[in-house]
Amino acid sequence: MHSLDEPRILRGIIMDHYDNPRNRGLVDDESYTKVNMNSDTCIDNLDIQVKMNGDIIEDVRYDGEACAICTSSTSIMSELMIGKTKEEALKIFDNYMNMIYEKDYDEDLLEEAIAFKNTHKQANRIKCATLGWNGFIKIIKEGEE
């Protein structure tokens, strides 16, 4: 069992990021690319901003109205992604989605994001746990086109 596997610890991670979201708040800076992620089925509504520096993700920002799961998963995502290359970021993203959808994944890559490993047990929360992540990847992939 992974040392972080205990529900008490996983819960602590989520609450910590919900109560003190990291990198929250948008910036008025044209070097950032922005996307709005507004869930069709629930209340979550976040703006995501990403700043690239060549191949490196220099900054990730977000703000909006969202539940605990959505806010904390986005906060953790922002911490994970900042400083990574595009390729590393895509790998982390793929592993996160594999975890959410109960496929094989490398939990070492996900760090605190493994707090969301049980999302599938409450299938209606998958959208919450992926909204910020999908917004981020949308910006990254659109940047490639």
Partner: protein, 409 residues
């Protein structure tokens, strides 16, 4: 008064269905309701015993379908005490019906500068079609102010009416705040001023006795699935002369009596001119069975029992210091929040205990301007709910601080 435990036996969903491994406690009846066996059987009966089209064939089977379909129309007519059976139009639901009124009647009767009165507590389907019709005709959508508790009062209606007001379109009971509008008084006053009153009955008709002649309402819409019927079927009631003045939005088979190649079309009379195409026959038949079922229980008894459940729930919630209630004195759904818990996280917590409650803006997306909160939890009862189920809801409310339990179940 009916025996609720006996009533519950009629519902397959209340006998064995589980959610998150716990017996289902269904408290989202404002969204849709569960179906009793008699409704399920009547739908199956049509599909397996006399499946055919309505109004289309010269053979016994088709005649049998016609009889059942038109019998359902008569059941609806009696249920809401319409004057004529021809005043009952079958639609796909309240949304469809409201669109038919807005586009079929509003668009042809409104001109530049006319005013349509609604409230901020309306469901999206009683707002968006009016926005669109206003845009097309140059009419203006205005809001009747609600009182401090979120109620619609006759006084506020009177104050909102101007010489330009042509249509008032309001819910008899709103889907989030659940207050009952003084519909009869509003109709009387409106008619003195030659204003047409459209009523969204989606949250009222399933829960109380409806008498359209006594109310005097011009149009009334409601949905079958919110009153134990199948989804995809609903009703548009309109006074016959108003239905005659209303244009159908969809044309096709069954809505015309004849037409020629020059494009001259003779439409049938109401209700048939609105029912182009093969209707939702099993839905209509199922709705008929649902109404008979409700009528046997008695609409007054249903209303009284639900009110008892509501009062019980409110009194229990008030014993808790972590629950905020937004509509203590109303008759419909209870809008509330667990303090410090985002509504969606709250709903997830209830889900983990097998309790279905709604979180969100409940399709009344401009209500937040009134409530001062952007989203709430909502519980809405039906006659098959029990005080024991409410006790379990309350137990979960107490666990509000542990809302992430749901996530680690």
């Amino acid at each position: 008064m009916f025996d609720v435990l006996k009533v519950r036996k009629d519902f397959p969903m209340l006998n064995g269905k589980t959610m998150q491994g716990k017996p289902l406690i269904y408290l989202d009846n404002g969204a849709t309701t569960l179906k009793p066996k008699v409704v399920i059987e009547s739908v199956c009966d049509y599909l397996s015993q006399y499946s055919g089209n309505a109004h289309r064939g010269d053979y016994d089977l088709s005649h049998e379908v016609d009889e059942q379909y038109e019998n359902a129309r008569m059941i609806v007519k009696n249920f809401i005490n319409a004057k004529k059976v021809e005043e009952i139009v079958f639609t796909s639901g309240s949304t469809d019906s409201l669109n038919m009124v807005a586009y079929g009647y509003g668009r042809t009767h409104l001109t530049q500068g006319d005013e349509i009165l609604i409230t901020v507590a309306e469901h999206a389907s009683n707002i968006l079609p009016w926005f669109e019709v206003a845009k097309e005709t140059g009419a203006i959508v205005k809001y009747i102010p609600l009182d401090e508790k979120g109620r619609l009062t006759l006084e506020n209606v009177k104050n909102a009416i101007t010489e330009h007001t042509k249509i008032i379109s309001i819910a008899q009971v709103t889907n989030v705040l659940g207050h009952k509008a003084p519909l009869k008084d509003i109709c009387t006053y409106a008619h003195e001023h030659h204003i047409t009153v459209v009523c969204d009955g989606a949250q009222s008709v399933p829960h109380q006795l409806t008498d359209v002649q006594d109310l005097g309402v011009d149009f009334l819409v409601f949905s079958g699935h919110k009153m134990c019927g199948p989804t995809g079927v609903g009703v548009l009631y309109g006074k016959y002369d108003l239905l005659c003045e209303t244009s159908p939005l969809r044309l096709g088979g069954g809505s015309n009596s004849r037409f020629n190649s020059c494009g001259i079309v003779t439409l049938k009379n109401p209700p048939y001119k609105f029912e182009a195409g093969t209707p939702n026959i099993e839905g209509v038949i199922g709705l008929g069975s649902a109404i008979i079922y409700l009528s046997h229980l008695g609409m007054n008894d249903i209303e009284a029992y639900e009110q008892e459940l509501r009062e019980y729930c409110i009194s229990k919630m008030k014993e808790l210091d972590n629950v905020e209630i937004y509509n203590e004195d109303s008759t419909g759904a209870i809008a509330f929040n667990i303090k410090g818990v985002f509504s969606q996280d709250g709903a997830s917590l209830f889900n983990s205990y097998g309790i279905a409650v709604r979180a969100g803006q409940h399709c009344a997306k401009i209500l937040d301007e009134f409530l001062g909160v952007t989203n709430t939890l909502r519980v809405s009862f039906y006659f098959y709910n029990t005080k024991e189920e409410i006790d379990q809801l309350i137990e979960v409310c107490k666990k509000g601080d542990d809302f992430l339990d749901a996530f680690f179940g």
